[in-house]
Amino acid sequence: MPIDLDRLVPGGALSGPVFARLARAAATVEPVRVGEEFGPFRVVRELGRGGMAVVWLAERVDGAYEQQVALKLVATRGDSGTAATLFRQERQILARLTHPHIARLLDGGSRADGTLWFAMELVEGEPIDRWCAARRLPARARVALFEQVCHALAFAHARLLIHRDLKPSNILVGADGQAKLLDFGIAALLDEAGVAEHAPRALTPGYASPEQVRGEVATTASDIWQLGRLLEALFEEHDAPARDADLAAIVAHAMADDPAARYGTVAELLADLANWREARPVRAREGGLAYRLGRLLARRRWVALGAAAVGIAFAVTVAAFMVGLARERDAAEREAERTQATLGFLTGLFAVADPGVNRGERLSANEILERGERQLETELAAQPALRAELLETIGAVHLALGQSARARPLLATAAELSRGRADVSAVELARRLRALARVSWRLGQLQPALDLAEEGLRVLGAAPAADELRGGLLNTRAIVTLLLGDAASAERLQREALAAIEATLGAQSMLAGYGWNNLGRALEQQDRVPEAARAYERALAILRDAIGPDHPDTLDIGTTWARQLGFIGRRDDALRELQRVQGELARVLGAQDFRYGYALMSEAQVRLHAGEVEAALPLAARAVGIYRASAGEQNLYTAVAWETLGQAHMAHADTAAAQAAFRAALSIRERELAPGHVDLAMSRYYLGVALCRGGDAAGGRALLERARAVAPGIDGMPAALASCTGG
C-alpha cells in the first residue's frame, strides 16, 4: 500500500481516529487511590511496580477478619472482558492450587475501566537470587531452594496449569527459608486473553524460552526451559559457588532450544537433581541412553507438535501430565510398546484440538479430557490394560481439578477393565480400587466405597512394597464404616489400621496422622469427647510435620480439635485455637472456602456450649452462607451448618427461624442418607423439638417418634416427648 502523502504531515499520527481512540481509552483508566476498593479488598499502599502492573498492599473491606493481600493491578489496552471471563472459568482451578511453595491466587476481577486486578497471598521475602547472594549459600543449598520451586511447578502441571513467567523476581524466599512462587495463573491468563499481546513486558527479557520469543504457545516445556534458566541464574552472581559440569549439563538439558530435547517433565528434572546430589551420573550427561530412548520412542514429539498445532496450552499440559504419569509407572520393558500406543492416543487428542480440525474453537481442559475419553473407547478397545491405565490417568486429572463426579465413571471403568487380568498387577488393580473407593466416598456413595476398599485389601493381600497403598485402604475402610453409622466397628478397624501403619510406615507418617484423625471422629461419635480430643491432638502433631502447619487438612483438624476443647469446658483454649485457625484459613484458602465456614461454625458451637448466644448466631449464619455457596445446597456438611444455625435460633427462642433451619438440614439428609442413619434421626429430633416449642405438638411428636424408632438413646428424648403432649 502506498503512503498517503496528504496524511504524512506534522502531528499526523495524533490527529487520526486511532490516536483519538487510544487517548479516549487511556482517559477511561483512573489512577488507583489509597482506599479504593477492588472486590472485597481495599488498597492500603503501593508495594511496587514494573512493566504493565502495579502491586498494592490491600486488606479486607468488611474487616470480618484480618487478611492482607498483595493486589496486582494490570493495565489493559484492549478489551479486558475476555480475561475476566477466563479468570472466572479458571478460578476454581486456581483456587485449588494450594501448595506450600505457591502464593495462592485468592480472587480477581476487573475494574469498570478494564484494569484487571488479582488478589494474591501476601508473601514477604527476597527474590531468590538476591537471597542466595546475600547469604552466600553453597551450591547444595541453592539447588535445594530451586527444588522447592520445581516441586511447586510439578504440582501445578499436574493440575493443568503452567506458569509461563518464571524468573527470580517472581520467586520470593521468606525469613523461614521457604521459597514461594508468585503470579501463578496470571501470565497464562493474560496470554490466553490476548490482552498482554503487545505489552512490552509480556515476555521477560532473558527469561523467555525460544518458542515464547518466536511467539508460539507456551507449554510445560517452556516452564522447564525457564527452570533451567533460573537454575543458571542462581549461579550467575559474582560470589556464587562454581557450578560443576553435571549441574551445567542439567541446565543445558533443561534449556535445549528444541522443546523435545528438554526434560519431559519436572519430575525428570528433579530426578536428575537427586542424581547430582547423590553424586550419581546425571541423565543430562548420559547423552546416549536418555536421548536415544527419548528420540526412539518419540515420546515427546507431541510436545513440539502440540505447541505448533494446538494453540492452547491446556492440551499440551494434559498430555505432558499424562505421559509423565504413565512413564513413571511403567515397567521398563513394557514401556516401548505402551508408549507407542500412548503416543497414538495423544496425537489423536491433539488432532481434535487443532484449530484446523475443530474450526478454531477454544477447547477447555474438560473438553479435551472428554474427547480423550471418547477416543479411548473407540481406539483402544483392543488393549484393555492400556485403556485402563489411561482412564485412571484422566480420572486423576479430574480428581486434581476437584471434579469427583466426572472422575468416578472413568475410575469405575478402569477398575472394571483391570479385574482378573494377568497383565495388570495386583498393586495396579488395588490402586485403581482405592481411587474409586475414595471418589465414591467423596460422592457420598458409602456402601460401594466400603465394598471397594475391602476388595482392594483382598486383591492386595500380602503384596510387597505396597504399605502405603495398604495403609490408605485400611484408613478408607474405617472412615467409611464410621460414616455408615457404625462407630464401634469403625473404632476397632481404625485401631487395627493404625497398628499396621505404624509398624510399616512409622508412627509419624502422614497416614498415621490421618488415621488418628479418623479415630478421633469415631470416638467423638461415641461421645467419648476427652479421648477424641487427645486423638485429634495427636493427629495434629503428626500432620504439622508431615504435610505442613498451613496445609488445609492440618488446619481443618485444628478446628475439630478446638471444638472438642470447647465441649470439655476449655472455652478459652478452644476460642484461641479457632481464631488462629480462622486467620490461617483466610490467608491460605480465603474466606469463601467451606473449611473456613467449618471453623466459623465450630466457633458458633463452642459459644453456644458456653452460653454465649448473642455471639453464636451471626457466626452460624455466616457459616451457612459459606457452605451453601461452596459445598453446595444439598451437601451433608451444609446440613450440619443449618443445624448449628437452628440451635442458635433455639437458644434465642426464635422457634420459627429454628424450624426453617432444621427443615433445611432434614431435607438434605433425607435425600442423601439411608433411612436408618443416625444423623437422620438427629435431624428429626431437632425439628421435632422446634415444632413442639412452636406449638405444633402433633407434628413435633410424629417426628420425635420416628427419631426414637431409629435412635432410642438420644439424651433429651424422654424430656422432649414429655413436654410435647400439651399441644
Binding site: M1, P2, I3, D4, L5, R7, L8, V9, P10, G11, G12, A13, L14, S15, G16, P17, V18, F19, A20, R21, L22, A23, R24, A26, A27, T28, V29, E30, P31, V34, R45, E46, L47, G48, R49, G50, G51, M52, A75, R77, G78, D79, E197, H198, P200, R201, P205
Partner: protein, 225 residues
C-alpha cells in the same frame, strides 16, 4: 502543587528559551501535572533521566519503564482533559502529547538532556500508537464477530491504522538508509513535535529539520509502492 514549568525552570542545561516557555504557555496550565499526593511518593517513581540513559544503552527493561511512564501520564492527562467536558467529548490530542512530555519532565526533577528526552519520548509515542493500531486491526480481523467494518468511523479507523503501521514499517527501512531522516519523521509525524523541539531532540538546526522532513517525504513517496 508543582507545575510543569517549575520543573523545567530548575533543570540545569535546559534552555529556558522561547521553546519551553512557548510550549508550556500554549498547552499547559499550572496544575495539570500530577501532584505529589497523586503520585504517591512513598514509592519513588522511576527517574526518567536515569531510565533514558539506560534505555539508550540498550536496556530493554528501562525502555519498558519509560514506555509505562509515558502511557500512564497520557492516561492521566486524557482523563483530566475529558473530565471537564460534557458529552461532546473531543480531545486536544496534540496538546495532550505536549502536556505529557512536560509533566513527565517536570515531575521527575531536572532532566539533564531535554533533547534526548524528546527524542526518546517520540520513539515511545510511535511505539504506543503503532502497537495500538495493530491491536485495533487485530481486534477487527481476528475478533470474528465483525470481519467487515460496519460504518464510516470504522472504515476511517481501519484506514488510519493501516496507514500508521505502513509509515512505521517504512521508517524502519528509511532508518537503514538514513537514520536521521527517520528520526525527524518520528518526531514530527508520530510525536507532533514542533520544528524547534525536533531540532533540539536531534541536536540539529531547525533548517536541517525542514530539509530532512522534505527529503524523508520524497524518499517515502519514491519507495512506498
Amino acid at each position: 502543587m508543582r507545575s510543569c514549568r517549575a520543573g523545567f525552570a530548575g533543570a540545569p542545561g535546559a534552555r529556558p528559551a522561547a521553546v519551553a516557555g512557548g510550549v508550556a504557555s500554549r498547552y499547559s496550565a499550572a496544575g495539570t501535572c500530577a501532584s505529589p499526593a497523586e503520585r504517591d511518593l512513598s514509592t519513588p517513581a522511576p527517574r526518567i533521566t536515569e531510565l533514558l540513559e539506560q534505555a539508550r544503552a540498550g536496556d530493554a527493561d528501562a525502555r519498558d519503564r519509560v514506555f509505562e511512564s509515558v502511557y500512564a501520564e497520557l492516561r492521566r492527562l486524557a482523563h483530566r482533559q475529558l473530565a471537564g467536558q460534557g458529552n461532546g467529548r473531543t480531545l486536544d490530542t496534540t496538546g495532550l502529547v505536549h502536556e505529557c512530555y512536560l509533566c513527565l519532565a517536570g515531575a521527575q526533577g531536572p532532566i539533564r538532556d531535554r533533547g534526548h528526552f524528546f527524542a526518546l519520548a517520540a520513539r515511545v509515542m510511535r511505539q504506543v500508537i503503532v502497537d495500538y493500531a495493530r491491536e485495533r486491526l487485530a481486534l477487527k480481523r481476528g475478533g470474528g464477530a465483525r470481519a467487515i467494518p460496519v460504518d464510516d468511523v470504522e472504515v476511517a479507523e481501519e484506514r488510519d491504522a493501516l496507514h500508521l503501521i505502513e509509515v512505521s514499517d517504512m521508517l524502519d527501512r528509511l532508518g537503514a538508509h538514513d537514520m536521521r531522516l527517520a528520526q525527524v519523521v518520528e518526531c514530527r509525524f508520530f510525536a507532533g513535535l514542533t520544528e524547534p523541539e525536533t531540532a533540539e531532540a536531534l541536536g540539529i538546526s531547525e533548517r536541517s529539520v525542514r530539509r530532512d522532513w522534505v527529503e524523508a517525504r520524497d524518499w517515502m513517496a519514491a519507495n512506498g509502492a
